[in-house]
Every structure is written in structure tokens, then in C-alpha cells.
Amino acid sequence: MAHGAGGKASRKLIEGLFAPLLFGAEPGPLGDAAHVDMNGTKVAITTDAFVVKPLSFPGGSIGELAVNGTVNDLAVSGAKAEAMVVSYVLEAGTPTPVLEAAIRAMAKAARDAGVRIVAGDTKVVEHGKADQMYITTTGIGRLLPGVSLDPRSVQVGDKILLSGPIGDHGITILLARGELDFEADLRSDTRSVLPLVEALIRAAGPGIRWMRDPTRGGAATSLNELARDCGLGMVLFEDQIPVRDTVRGACELLGLDPLHIANEGQFLAVVSPEYADAAINALSLAPGGSEAQVIGEVREQPAGAVLVTTLYGGSRIVDMLVGDPLPRIC
């Protein structure tokens, strides 16, 4: 099960089995989307499968996630989603209103993100073989001009930017499962990050080296992957990382680290230092970007790892997530 949680095991599965068999021995750094040359026109393409329980939760549902997830994977690879195909795996006996709600949510999210859904497929499996529904979306996008991304271009001194508070989605899902006897006023952050990415590219395009949307596995996992791909150290300043009090509170109670919690509407970017101010200004002025922050910088050490420093001089290495985040009680 850990192989699906987005952390270390997922990466091992991809690098150890899928990549060598499907792309040959040296796939290079693994990004969120692939860029493909078609008769001289470069397009970006990505796909993502969505499995979430419960299907709807404060702030969204599987329908929005399925659209925004793919739009965001394209956005952080420097592309604007143009068209999308969807496929639904439905469990026999799923009530029609549940399905209809997911499709309506999908349609609205697609309109909001400016992407057309152009084709689709459905399959029905026996009762008990799926959690009501699984959705896969595949998106194709046009490359945005003025930006070139490569984790290997990241240099010492570069700044690490975060578009807004982390952990909202993961903690919302945890609470929505209803297994915890506490409630919090919290919503999933699911949204298209494309407008923010576009604002960032306009203001700081030549300075942007890398972007990623930290979904499963959280910001810690994305930054660990970057650290490994570029061989440098990611040093974060704990007091600069935006986290809502409700998320912090839930994490404190459950013994979780917000850096390991999933997000569905934020992205990380590494920007050369001379563009950092322009980048933050542009993000802050864009709708939904007012909480963007510089959360750290790239240093030589700890090579290949992520270090979080505190205001009072303590520090800790934050690894990729191992399996799902499990609450600590005893």
C-alpha cells in the first residue's frame, strides 16, 4: 500500500520497475508531465489516477481533484492545459446522484481552469471491487513561453518559493473521514494553480528553474526529490513556512508533520535570487497568492537532503514520507 502513498516507496516502484521497462535505463529526472515533440511542435502531456475516500469533502470532491490535479501537473511543468480526456471506473451499485455530483464538479472545475474535456471512457466493475469510483484524467497542454525548467539547473543561492499554506487538503480529508472526534473549519485547497504559475512566469520567467505541486507526500517529498535530482541541499526556515493554525493544531495532536501532508492547490518553485522579490510580488498580487512566501534557499549542504531550521537554532533533516502519514497516539 505504501507504494501508492507518494513517498519513498512510490518513487522506488517507478524508478525500479516502470521507468526502466517503459522508458529505457536512463529516464532522467522524473517530472510531473512529459514534453513531447510532434512534427516540430512541443506539447506537454500528463496523466493521473484519482482514488479518494470520501468522494466529497469540504472544499471539493473527486471531480475537482481529477481536473485540477492534471491541470496543475501541466502548469508546474510550464504548460497550459488545453484538452483533457477522462476515464471512470465505477463500482456496480454506485448511486446515480453520487456519480452525477462528481461529473458536475468535474465540468465546473474544467470551465474554471479553462480546459476542454474532449473524450472519455467508462468501465463498471463488480460491487466491492472499487471504492464507488476511480477517475483517471489525461491532459495535453501548450508550453508557456518564457520559461525553461530543469532540476539540474538549480544552483546554490537560489530561493525556494511556496504559493500558500500547506496541509489544508490532507488534513481536510483526514477529518472528513469522520474517524476523528474533532472538527475544524478547514477546506481542501483544490484549485487550478495555472493563474499563479502564469503570473510567476510573467514576472520572473527567466529566473524560474523548477516547479512542482506537492500533492501526496507533501512539500517534504517534492523537495527531497529535487535535492536528489540536483545533488544540493534544500534548507527551509520553519517560521517562514505558511501553515494555518487549524492544520498545525491537528498535526500537533496527531504527531504529523505539515511538510508531509498532501496539497491540491499549491506549488513550489525555485527561483534565482535576483528574481525572488519580483516573483513574490507577482504571486502576492495574483488572486489566491497573497500568502506566497520564500520558505528557504538552496545550499551546498546537506547534499541531496532537506534541512529545516528553526528560529531558535535547532535543525532537523526532513525525509520523504514513508508510507501514509500515521497518527501517533500512545
Binding site: G255, G314, R316, G323, L326, P327, I329, C330
Partner: protein, 374 residues
């Protein structure tokens, strides 16, 4: 965030750290933090970066998951195997390996394994699934034992019959005694467990001060709590005193929680002996369910194999648990034994010293040694 941020205030922390440096001088101090929660906090907040090098913190046995022998996990899982049983346990337990895999691995193979946040959630599962049996795999020191006791009392009052508890509750005092009796152990003082003490209070530690002449300060879990506790210990040590002190007064009453102790006395009895991973058999160190509540005792209700499983020979969990070895000095650390593939339980729980060291520290240590060569 209230009640948290006050205890992470940079200025106070650096002042307290300064005071520690002044009090410690150049003498070497060995202090054991008994509780796994403290071990986790030390790594999570990077307290080692703040403390002077001559304050050595030794990680104690207070991680309930870490001291649980593998055979008990096998026994608990065997009850749920091939039966109409829901296996319920805290998230802490889910990755702990038994001989045939962890609860999570059993779940992936089809066992109905649920993560619960309290024993009463397990009882709720029993109410919601009247045609199935719910087994609660109970772990923890006196911190969690009262809620297990109250849950059984409620089950009895409500007449719920499809619920039982596989009881692995242990008690902290005999473990501290075993540590002190260990011949290879040299300790100057103890940082006392905060959560356990909310239940048992501070009196049970008095023998440590009186008979063993070791200071003990019951401590909270925030950075400032722990640094203040170290200051209190240093003051005692420098003055040649040995007392029980309570730094965590905002939570821990000196006399403990009488209602919680009463609930425990209602439901539990002391086991004559119990096996602790790494420490061996310790007499009167664990709780079982008494005759009055026998119907909820999974060990009586089901036939449990009760097979003893020895730890892998090469693993040095015992030495690490007693503080004789540091995590990275174990032969398997970071090679055969990692958080993804834990061999010893200390690598499983994030409160286990090996996992904490692996997650937060060892690459930092490697980095420092590299830069000192360069």
C-alpha cells in the same frame, strides 16, 4: 497557536540554552529521557544543536511500540486471521513488523485492519458491526491504559459482547528499575515522562531520588519545557541533590489523576512478569485484564499461540534501548534496518530512537563529518 508558541519562543529558548551552558561548565552529564515522546521532540526540534556537547541525552525505554516483543504482534494478528474479526489499533502499531508482516501488510492481504484514535473508537466499531467481533490491540503505558479501562467498563455497562481487548499495557516504573539495575548503565539523571505522570503523578519516582540518588524532573514536550527541565537537573546535580521535581505543572498534578488510577484498578491486574523487547522479562511490569472483566480479555476468549519470537541475532535493539549503544552504532542501522524496512521496532515508531535518529539526524551527522574533513 496558544499553549504551543509560548514554548517555542526563540529568545527564551536561547536564554535557557545559555543558562544550560553556564551550569554545565565542562563536566560531562548523561541524562536519560525515559519517554519516547521526548526522544521524538529532541530530534524534531533539533535540540541537540542547541545543547552543549557535554550534555549527553540517552534515549530510554518509554516507547510502547518499541518495547513490544514480536511474538505479541503475531499473537494479536493471529486472532484476527481467518476469523470474522476487525483488528483495531492505534496508528503507531500499523507498521510494526510481526514475523509474517505488520498490521498494514496484513490489511493489504485482506485482513480488516482499522486505525483508531482511541479505544472508545474501537468500541464504536463494535456497536456499528454487531455481527462481527472487534479486537482492540491495546498498547501504551499508564498514559493510554485508563482509556482502555474506561472503554471496557462502558462495554460491560452497555452489555456489548462482540468486543475484546488484547492487552499489552505496560508500566513505567519497573522499566526504569530494570535500566538502573543494568550493570553497563551509567546515568546522572532522568528527564521524567510527562504524559505518564499526568496519570501516576510524581510520587512513584521518589525511590529514584531517595534510594538511587538520581535527580528526576518530570518534563513537558515543547523545546522550552525540555530545556528548563535540563536546567533543573543541572542545578540539582551541581548542588549534589537528588529530588523529584515537576517542570510540567501545567498538566501534571503531583498526586496524579485519581479517577484514572481508579479505572485502572477496576479493570486491570499486574501480570507476574512480561517480556520487554531488548530488556527481557521484567516482573510485575505489565497489566492484564482481571476476572471481573474476563469476557473482554482476548487472551482468554481466543486461543492465542503465545509463541516467543527472538529478535534477529544481528539487531542490537536491546543495547540501543538501554542506551548502551547509539542508534547508528548498531550493526544494522541504515543498512538492513531502515524506516521502510524496519527489523527492530525502534526503527518503526517515530518515537523510537532509531527512526527518530534516521529521519532527522543521521544525514546531518554525515554532513558535519564531511565538512570537518574538508
Amino acid at each position: 497557536m496558544r499553549f504551543v508558541d509560548e514554548f517555542r519562543e526563540p529568545e527564551l529558548i536561547s536564554k535557557t540554552a545559555e543558562e544550560i551552558r553556564r551550569l554545565a561548565g565542562d563536566r560531562h552529564y548523561r541524562m536519560m529521557e525515559v519517554c519516547g515522546g521526548h526522544t521524538h521532540a529532541i530530534y524534531r526540534f533539533g535540540l541537540k544543536d542547541i545543547l552543549p556537547e557535554n550534555i549527553e541525552l540517552i534515549h530510554g525505554p518509554g516507547c510502547p511500540v518499541c518495547v513490544l516483543p514480536m511474538g505479541r504482534i503475531d499473537d494479536g494478528l493471529s486472532i484476527a486471521q481467518d476469523r470474522n474479526v476487525i483488528f483495531a489499533a492505534f496508528g503507531d502499531m500499523m507498521r510494526v513488523p510481526g514475523t509474517l508482516g505488520s498490521p498494514l501488510e496484513h490489511k493489504a492481504r485482506g485482513m480488516d485492519v482499522r486505525i483508531v484514535y482511541s479505544p472508545s473508537d474501537a468500541l464504536k466499531l463494535a456497536r456499528l458491526n454487531p455481527d462481527r467481533h472487534v479486537l482492540f490491540f491495546a498498547i501504551g503505558f499508564e498514559t493510554t491504559a485508563p482509556s482502555t479501562a474506561l472503554t471496557m467498563m462502558r462495554a460491560k455497562a452497555e452489555g456489548i459482547h462482540n468486543f475484546s481487548v488484547f492487552c499489552n499495557h505496560v508500566t513505567i516504573i519497573p522499566a526504569i528499575r530494570a535500566i538502573l539495575d543494568s550493570p553497563d548503565m551509567r546515568l546522572d539523571a532522568f528527564i521524567g515522562p510527562g504524559h505518564v505522570s499526568t496519570v501516576i503523578g510524581c510520587r512513584p519516582y521518589e525511590w529514584i531520588a531517595k534510594n538511587e540518588r538520581k535527580p528526576i524532573v518530570v518534563s513537558g514536550f515543547e523545546p522550552l519545557d525540555m530545556l528548563q527541565s535540563i536546567v533543573m537537573l543541572l542545578r540539582q546535580l551541581n548542588a549534589g541533590e537528588a529530588k523529584v521535581e515537576n517542570q510540567y505543572k501545567r498538566v501534571v498534578p503531583w498526586e496524579g489523576n485519581l479517577a484514572a488510577l481508579k479505572a485502572m484498578a477496576e479493570v486491570f491486574q499486574l501480570r507476574p512478569y512480561f517480556e520487554w523487547r531488548g530488556l527481557g522479562f521484567i516482573s510485575q511490569s505489565a497489566l492484564s485484564i482481571n476476572d471481573k472483566y474476563a469476557e473482554f480479555d482476548a487472551e482468554r476468549r481466543f486461543s492465542v499461540p503465545g509463541i516467543r519470537v527472538t529478535d534477529p541475532m544481528a539487531a542490537q535493539c536491546g543495547e540501543v534501548l538501554k542506551g548502551v549503544l547509539k542508534p547508528h552504532q548498531c550493526k544494522l542501522f541504515g543498512r538492513e534496518c531502515t524506516p521502510e524496512h524496519p527489523i527492530g521496532a525502534l526503527m518503526v515508531s517515530s518515537e523510537g530512537s532509531c527512526a527518530a535518529y534516521h529521519n532527522y539526524e543521521h544525514r546531518k551527522a554525515a554532513m558535519v563529518s564531511l565538512s570537518s574533513i574538508a
